[in-house]
């Protein structure tokens, strides 16, 4: 084992995949000398050269569309958007080309592309650089959506994404980049489509993903001191969703709260709640709770942004409300 930050883990995954497969290349804005907006690609230009680390103009639609075309030609692009918010500009290419290309060829054409993007608030970056976009993308069959919560998963899931023959949206949380964790030395992957119980408990299932897994674990520690034994499940992949692992946890604890940073309305929590009541209705002992951001744009100022975001206390409060009702 070695200790890596999420940033280092993602960089290592890209580096190892670049070395492993000549078809892999990186494409995005200021990836080369600049090293990427969050320095994910730092040092890669020197090692792999400009044909593998491709800097584009500020053209998100062209970045995504060009990646689709290159993938159709048998290459395996890893595209980066500076901020997940910018996916709106590349959305047509993502929705109408990337997601549909395999179906429109009736499975005869693989489309191996990874679209990486950092999302989330907490860095006072304002309303256009802080949003959580996964539910915007969730209603599109043909894509896979991966949101790692730690360095181990970030590296293993990204390597799986690069080797996947389907388009994978790989959503990183910018507050996780400096989070350190244990990562195995040498080759490993984490399968796409598998959730993970990251803390066992018997009283309630806190179901979360990305940065909110950290907050959910903090909440579980606080709740433990108050005699509430919470289980924390990391969804890891929103599409395909590992319904069975989530349902199994809920069948055990008989209660569930879903925690994500995106606003509650129309968020992934609604979808997860729906599949859980289908899969575990007879086991549920309380309504399924949801914790998310407020129904506003992401405010800029620190105090406002902190009030907007879900946090450990909000999770604790929601769990208590469900457990003691």
């Amino acid at each position: 084992m070695t200790i890596l930050s999420v940033r280092q883990a993602i960089r290592e995954a890209m580096r190892e995949e670049l070395l492993r497969d000549d078809k892999v290349f990186l494409i995005g804005e200021s990836l080369g000398p600049y090293g990427g907006s969050f320095k994910l690609t730092e040092g890669l230009l020197a090692e792999f050269g400009p044909e593998k680390i491709m800097d584009t103009p500020l053209s998100e639609s062209a970045i995504v569309g060009c990646s689709v075309g290159a993938a159709m030609m048998g290459f395996r692009p890893i595209a980066e958007l500076m901020f997940a918010d910018f996916v709106t500009i590349g959305m047509d290419q993502l929705v109408n080309n990337a997601a549909k290309m395999i179906y429109l060829h009736d499975g005869a054409l693989p489309l191996p592309l990874v679209l990486r993007m950092p999302e989330g608030g907490g860095a006072t970056m304002g309303p256009h650089h802080s949003q959580c976009v996964e539910s915007w993308i969730l209603n599109i069959p043909g894509l896979k959506i991966v949101l790692p919560s730690n360095a181990h998963d970030a590296k293993g899931l990204l390597k799986s994404a690069v080797r996947d023959d389907n388009p994978v949206v790989f959503i990183e949380h910018k507050l996780l980049y400096n989070e350190k964790g244990e990562v195995p030395e040498g080759e490993y992957t984490v399968p796409i489509g598998k959730a993970k119980v990251v803390r066992e408990g018997k009283d309630i299932s806190i179901i979360s993903y990305s940065y909110m897994v950290k907050k959910s674990l903090e909440a579980a520690d606080i709740l433990a001191k108050e005699g509430i034994d919470a289980e924390v499940v990391d969804v890891r992949t929103l599409r395909p969703l590992d319904v069975e692992t989530l349902a199994e946890s809920v069948r055990k604890t008989e209660k569930a709260v879903i925690v994500h940073e995106a606003p509650v309305t129309g968020g992934a929590g609604g979808e997860i709640a729906a599949v859980l009541q289908e899969a575990a209705f007879d086991y549920l002992d309380a309504p399924i709770g949801r914790v998310g951001a407020l129904e506003t744009p992401v405010p800029y100022s620190y105090t406002l942004e902190q009030a907007y975001l879900p946090n450990t206390q909000k999770i604790v409060d929601k769990v208590k409300q469900l457990v003691t009702r």
Binding site: S61, M73, G74, N96, I102, Y103, L104, H105, D165
Partner: protein, 322 residues
């Protein structure tokens, strides 16, 4: 002059595909009105010379991403009339067993890049294909066709710019029929020619008569040669006219009938026939023979489409992923 290198067989081929495209289109429009087709057809009548005159130059290492009114590219790149027609009828023998329309069908093995129903949406994808060609070290090119309407979209800008910056072997072929659905060109852009937009990207922009198949051939051949030599992309603008409504359901009531009828005096088929006969390249009986063969291919395709089965329902949720 590239056209000087054309031999009689090439001329026959050009005429064959011009005629086939026209005849197929007329039949499609007729049969659609009788309720026999499912695909919303966008007629290419009057614009055939653009796809045929440029598409004939594409080889097996080249790719094409055809737009709505560019049927000739499909036929010249090896999509069969039968599968295309079956696609129009929504049959299982059509592209991707009925999952895709014929007018956006794609098959990378034959060099046909799947199109998009979003006008201009295919341009960035074509740039990616161009990048793939360059990465492979191939001498191929990719030709992406679109209408004047597409040039108002941001994707046109992003695709043109990136292709120019990276000097990719992309031919941007604009069929300028001076209409974007119901809007006329004066309402689309404040310039007279689409091709001058090329200046803004640092690539050549060429305007040629899209109703003269040999002018299309000549301009395209030069752009292809440039791209194959590593010179990068070219914007080719071919001027033409739309003879019909936007789609087959459009009665075209918003245009002056006399003006639309006048467009038919500049028919790309008639124009080419005159050249062929005047120069003695082909004789009237050659044209008759070619037309007959083209008609047979189309008629056989319609028969095949009519006889084909509808897709079985159990395939609907297959192959969303590989």
């Amino acid at each position: 002059m590239y056209v000087e290198k054309l031999n009689p067989k090439d001329y026959e081929k050009l005429y064959y595909y011009l005629y086939l495209t026209r005849y197929a289109d007329e039949l499609i429009c007729k049969n659609y009105k009788q309720g026999m087709l499912q695909e919303s057809h966008h007629s290419c009548q009057g614009e055939e010379a653009i796809a045929v005159g440029s598409g004939i130059l594409l080889g097996k290492d080249d790719y094409v991403c055809p737009s709505l009114r560019a049927r000739g590219y499909f036929y010249l790149k090896g999509a069969t009339l039968k599968e295309m027609m079956a696609g129009m009828y929504g049959k299982v023998t059509g592209p991707s067993r009925g999952k895709n329309t014929s007018h956006h069908m794609g098959d990378m093995d034959r060099g046909i890049v799947c199109g998009s129903g979003i006008i201009g949406g295919a341009l960035p994808v074509a740039v990616g294909v161009g990048l793939g060609i360059k990465k492979r070290g191939s001498k191929g090119v990719v030709l992406v066709s679109f209408g004047d309407g597409s040039t108002s979209r941001g994707d046109f800008h992003e695709a043109m710019n990136l292709a120019a910056v990276w000097k990719l072997p992309v031919l941007f072929v604009c069929e300028n029929n001076r209409m974007a659905m119901g809007n006329t060109i004066e309402g689309e852009m404040a310039i007279d020619r689409v091709a001058i937009r090329a200046d803004a990207y640092g690539m050549p922009g060429v305007t040629a008569n899209g109703n003269d198949v040999l002018a299309v051939y000549e301009a395209t051949a030069a752009a292809i040669e440039r791209a194959r030599k590593g010179g990068g992309p070219t914007l080719l603008e071919f001027t033409t006219h739309r003879w019909t409504g936007h789609g087959v359901k459009d009665a075209d009531a918003y245009r002056d009938r006399a003006v639309v009828e006048s467009y038919k005096q500049d028919c790309p088929l008639d124009n080419f026939r005159k050249v062929l006969l005047a120069k003695g390249i082909l004789k009237k009986r050659d044209l008759d023979r070619i037309e007959k063969a083209a008609m047979k291919e189309v008629d056989d395709a319609v028969e095949y489409a009519v006889q084909s089965d509808h897709p079985p329902v159990d395939i609907v949720a297959t192959n969303v992923y590989v």
